[in-house]
């Protein structure tokens, strides 16, 4: 994962189904998340957006179907090979999931220490760069418990970007952020995509944000992709619910 190399890893789900007990969350979902593009995933709470992201990083295993990272079927990988594949992916959890026994800076440094042989000075420089990019330059020495929800989210994003992954999965980046910071994070994501060719998959409830980030928008409903297209296309969707979604929250 040398810095600067343009990433060309796309993601493809083929007939993915997932249920938890009697609850069917994903129902035969097939979707292409093209390399170097930003796909925004929309849908009501509890429709399986987070579950979808977790399948891409292999934290959840589909009951049926396959998940491709590039041309590699990650559902077929043994744990060691899956770990290697995961190094290409950055993941921001919906709840940030920072390691709460270490500082913010150590959280961001963690993947670097594990997977690179960068000298300490360079690790520190990279950590500062990533934290500055999310506007947390002065939070380096703080413990996660001392941060606000929005700050934790941003620290989680810095950690997800630490290895400069070719695929960046982001679960609700703007939750807990003021509109200005939210916009800054959107700009950051767009910049990362442009400059590095990173494939972005962003879950959000924030429609203005979805417009700014998304090349393509997916609308997930009752375990299926109900609509897929640009923001303009979704506004004219044949589905009432999709149109409602696009308009009701389009205030910004």
């Amino acid at each position: 994962m040398s810095a600067g190399a343009p990433a060309v890893t796309g993601v493809r789900l083929e007939h993915v189904s997932k249920a938890f007990g009697a609850l069917r969350v994903l129902d035969d979902v097939s979707v292409e998340l093209p390399a170097g593009e930003a796909t925004v995933v929309l849908g009501r709470s509890g429709t399986g957006k987070s579950v979808l992201l977790k399948h891409i990083v292999g934290l959840l295993h589909p009951d049926a179907g396959r998940v491709f990272l590039g041309d590699q079927d990650i559902t077929a990988l043994a744990p060691a090979a899956l770990a290697v594949a995961r190094r290409q992916i950055g993941f921001l959890f919906q709840n940030a999931a920072l390691f709460d026994s270490i500082t913010v800076a150590e959280n961001v440094a963690f993947p670097l220490r594990r997977h690179t042989r960068l000298p300490e000075a360079e690790i520190r420089a990279r950590v500062e760069e990533k934290l500055a990019a999310v506007g947390l330059a002065d939070a380096v020495a703080r413990m996660p418990a001392a941060l606000s929800g929005g700050m934790r989210k941003r620290a989680g994003l810095a950690r997800a970007m630490a290895l400069e992954p070719s695929v960046l999965l982001v679960d609700e980046p703007s939750a807990g952020l003021d509109p200005v910071t939210s916009e800054e994070i959107d700009d950051l994501l767009v910049r990362v995509k442009r400059e590095r060719g990173t494939t972005l998959v962003v879950v959000t409830h924030n429609i203005p944000s979805a417009r700014r980030i998304g090349d393509t928008l997916l609308f997930l409903h009752e375990g299926r992709v109900l609509a897929r297209g640009t923001a303009a296309e979704l506004e004219r969707s044949e589905h009432e619910l999709v149109r409602q979604f696009m308009h009701s929250e389009a205030g910004g």
């Binding site: 977790k54 992916i89 993941f91 959890f93 709840n95 993947p111």
Partner: protein, 252 residues
């Protein structure tokens, strides 16, 4: 999960930890950190408890041996009781309380806040990083802690004795060590490695399988202590039998 399959699953979990202790990569830094947490930070507890146990054992030994006019054997009798059984068992139960609750709650909290998933997402083998390190640390710390308890126990025993008979420290030690041999010290102390294994595995198992938020974390801590204690006391019966079989001279 049915009770039987979950018991089988727990056994597989326990076996995996032993196997992976010997398989690279070795998480040396994390193991050292756990050794500090489990070993070093348990020292005050163990030292004080050993001292108190030594005093109590001394009082009982004196009461028993006085009847036979065998006061001269008091140091030796105390030493034998302490080194063979009391020391290992008391250390086991104290560590089951302190460390069992700690692991159960810490890993439980990591589980419910998705920090364990976050480790996996940054391509770290969470079993190796969390469970194997703690298991090894516990197994290494136990014999050391037991030796410390034996030592402070003897000092406590001497203090209690000298208060009554005015026996000198030197005379007490010489008398105590005159009877205790390799076959008394080593099996009992090695046995505590098995206790360490039982404690760590039990607590890690409940910890990483925690469900249901804060309350679940509490349950995991409690279950860890209760289950580890009962497993430890039960295993002790078998272990004592085994030691008598392997070291016949200890029965003398």
């Amino acid at each position: 999960m049915a009770p039987l399959s979950s018991a089988g699953y727990a056994v597989a979990f326990a076996a995996r930890a032993i196997r992976e202790i010997f398989l690279p990569p070795y998480e040396i830094k994390e193991t050292a950190r756990q050794l500090y947490e489990v070993g070093w930070r348990s020292l005050p507890l163990i030292a004080v408890a050993g001292f108190a146990v030594g005093i109590v054992l001394s009082m009982h030994t004196r009461a028993s041996l006085e009847r036979f006019g065998a006061e001269a054997l008091i140091p030796a009798a105390l030493m034998l009781a302490l080194v063979r059984e009391t020391g290992p068992l008391v250390v086991g139960l104290l560590v089951a309380g302190r460390v069992g609750a700690g692991f159960g709650a810490e890993l439980g909290a990591m589980k419910v806040t998705e920090q364990i998933d976050a480790l996996e997402a940054v391509a770290v083998d969470s079993f190796k990083f969390l469970v194997v390190t703690r298991t090894l640390a516990c197994m290494l710390a136990m014999p050391i802690l037991t030796t410390v308890m034996n030592f402070t126990g003897i000092i406590g025993g001497w203090l209690a004795e000298s208060a009554i008979s005015g026996m000198s420290f030197e005379a007490y030690f010489r008398s105590a060590f005159s009877v205790v041999g390799f076959a008394d010290y080593v099996p009992g102390t090695i046995k505590t490695m098995v206790f360490g294994y039982i404690i760590a595995i039990t607590a890690c198992y409940f910890g990483v399988h925690t469900r249901g938020g804060t309350q679940g974390v509490g349950y995991s801590a409690t279950r860890s202590v209760v289950t580890a204690s009962i497993l430890l006391i039960t295993a002790n019966v078998v272990l004592v039998r085994l030691i008598f079989f392997l070291f016949p001279e200890t029965t003398g």
